[in-house]
């Protein structure tokens, strides 16, 4: 993952969580799925976005030679 993609992933964490939050409330208001059941989706989204950012950060780190 290059530096530009990594910064995009980091910046889009908030907007993606906002969209998921909106969808969770919409499902509840339209009486499709209760928010009391769907709330873990928010947790999953947060975790996935953190994971993506972490993966990108790892890929960016340079490999230092092992100490003798």
């Amino acid at each position: 993952m290059d530096a530009a993609t990594l910064s995009l992933v980091r910046a889009s964490r908030g907007p993606v969580q906002l969209v998921v939050l909106g969808v969770v409330f919409l499902l509840s208001n339209y009486q499709i799925a209760e928010i009391s059941k769907t709330w873990p989706v928010l947790l999953i989204t947060y975790g996935v976005m953190r994971l993506l950012a972490w993966t990108g950060t790892r890929a960016q780190k340079p490999n230092f030679p092992a100490a003798q």
Partner: protein
């Protein structure tokens, strides 16, 4: 530097389009629709911000570390709390009630449609009375020599189309029917939602000897030439009665204008929050209780009068002349006592009254003007203000005056009054035994000489 975001303006435009669409397409109120669809604000906000990030990246601008700032998350939390609260009140508690900012399609885009009420008639039997129930509108009742009650007039309704207006009116009708000695006129407005602003303007003719009773909420009354008595009950409105006989009772909680002229009997008025009160040429006893924030005018009242207003207590045996009172002043002339006037907030000017007077004022001044040398007893108590008495030089009276701010001006000098002054107060007392007593307790007292009208004319 972080690029300028277009999310705010776009959300405003989107919310505006959403509200317009709701108003035009559904009978739900704006609040009801927002309570259900508000999460689209969050979805739209997030999507627009994502698109923005992609745009900035394609333009090779530097991207923010956080796509949504701390302040923006705070706004999101506020939106969620308000949205959830609105949803709960709408779905679970059963709506928003009558909120002032809740506007329906009818209220926004409706027009007033008017339809005539077909004429109806009922013959009255001896001993019958007439009851009119009209929640909103105007009621005109006129007494005639006929022996029947006739009804016509017009109804107005607010609706988005003429068809809707007709269907609302046809769902109920104005009725005139006789039930157990009562001729009842009902407009049946109870079931029609308030947004349609259904009003009935009734023109009713009744035999002049009949008793008339009315009930309403937002109703104005104009009643004339009814000789069997009138009772009006309402929440809000005006009442104008003329040439009426029999007991008149008017109870309107929030009256704008109660105007009675030429009434032959007892008058009882109650208004919790009224404005103007005008009574003229009343031949019976008058009692008005409540609050009248506008002008009070009383003219030519032959019976005893009692005005029990929040700011004025006025009692008189009769009022051959007039009383005019507004928020700050009361001017009265040619009143018959025993008189009692008590007020906390009015300057009082009294002229040419007969009978004993009791005057109690809190922080205003009083002017007493009498040209007749035959005075009546007076008890004047003005806590924080002065009393000016303009009396004829020939007047005979005993006087007991106490001026708490130490000043008594005596220009009459006819009754051998003796003054005793101290740094705290002045006392002026004296006069022939057996003469009527004038007792004054005020901050300042002025006894001035008035030239009787006849003498002034001769000069």
């Amino acid at each position: 530097m972080r690029p300028t975001s277009i999310v705010g303006p776009l959300i405003l435009v989107a919310v505006g389009i959403l509200l317009l669409w709701i108003n035009l397409s559904s009978d739900r109120t704006v609040l009801e629709s927002l309570a259900i669809h508000w999460p689209w604000i969050l979805v739209g906000w997030g999507v627009v911000r994502l698109l923005e990030l992609l745009l900035w990246r394609s333009q090779e601008k530097s991207l923010p570390v956080r796509g949504i700032s701390g302040g923006e998350w705070f706004v999101v939390v506020v939106v969620c709390v308000i949205g959830t609260g609105a949803y709960v009140s709408n779905q679970i508690l059963g709506g928003f009630g009558d909120l002032p900012f809740q506007l329906s399609r009818t209220e926004l885009f409706g027009e007033i449609h008017e339809f005539a009420i077909p004429e109806q008639k009922v013959t009255l039997r001896k001993g019958d009375r007439v009851l009119v129930e009209n929640l909103r509108g105007n009621v005109e009742i006129t007494g005639t020599n006929a022996d029947e009650v006739s009804l016509n007039g017009a109804e107005t309704v607010k609706a988005v189309s003429e068809d809707q207006a007709r269907s609302i009116l046809q769902s109920r009708k104005v009725t005139l029917e006789r039930q157990d000695g009562i001729v009842v006129i009902r407009t049946h407005q109870e079931g029609v939602p308030g947004e349609h602003e259904l009003r009935a303007n009734l023109r009713i003719q009744v035999p002049s000897q009949v008793k008339v009773e009315t009930r309403g909420r937002h109703t104005n009354y104009e009643i004339q030439q009814v000789r069997g008595g009138v009772e009006i009950q309402g929440d809000e409105g005006d009442a104008r009665l003329a040439d009426v006989a029999g007991t008149v009772r008017v109870r309107i909680a929030r009256s704008r204008n109660i105007h009675l002229t030429n009434v032959d009997d007892l008058v009882e008025i109650y208004s919790n929050r009224g404005d103007d009160l005008s009574l003229e040429n009343i031949r019976g006893k008058v009692s008005a209780v409540g609050t009248f924030n506008g002008n009070i005018q009383l003219r030519s009242i032959q019976g005893p009068v009692h005005i029990d207003d929040r700011r004025l207590d006025l009692r008189a045996a009769s009022i051959p002349g007039e009383v005019v009172a507004n928020r700050g002043d009361l001017k009265a002339s040619r009143l018959t006592g025993p008189l009692r006037i008590a007020s906390e907030s009015k300057d009082v000017e009294l002229a040419e009254f007969t009978g004993p007077l009791e005057l109690v004022l809190e922080k205003r001044d009083a002017i007493i003007r009498q040209t007749n040398a035959r005075l009546s007893p007076m008890d004047l108590q003005v806590r924080r203000g002065k009393v000016v008495m303009e009396l004829p030089p020939t007047a005979t009276f005993r006087f007991e005056g106490r001026a708490r701010k130490g000043e008594i001006i005596d220009d009459l000098k006819t009754n051998e009054l003796k003054e005793e002054s101290s740094s705290q107060q002045s006392v002026l007392a004296g006069g022939p035994a057996g003469a009527p007593l004038i007792s004054v307790d005020a901050e300042r007292i002025e006894l001035l000489s008035i030239v009787p009208r006849e003498t002034a004319k001769k000069e």
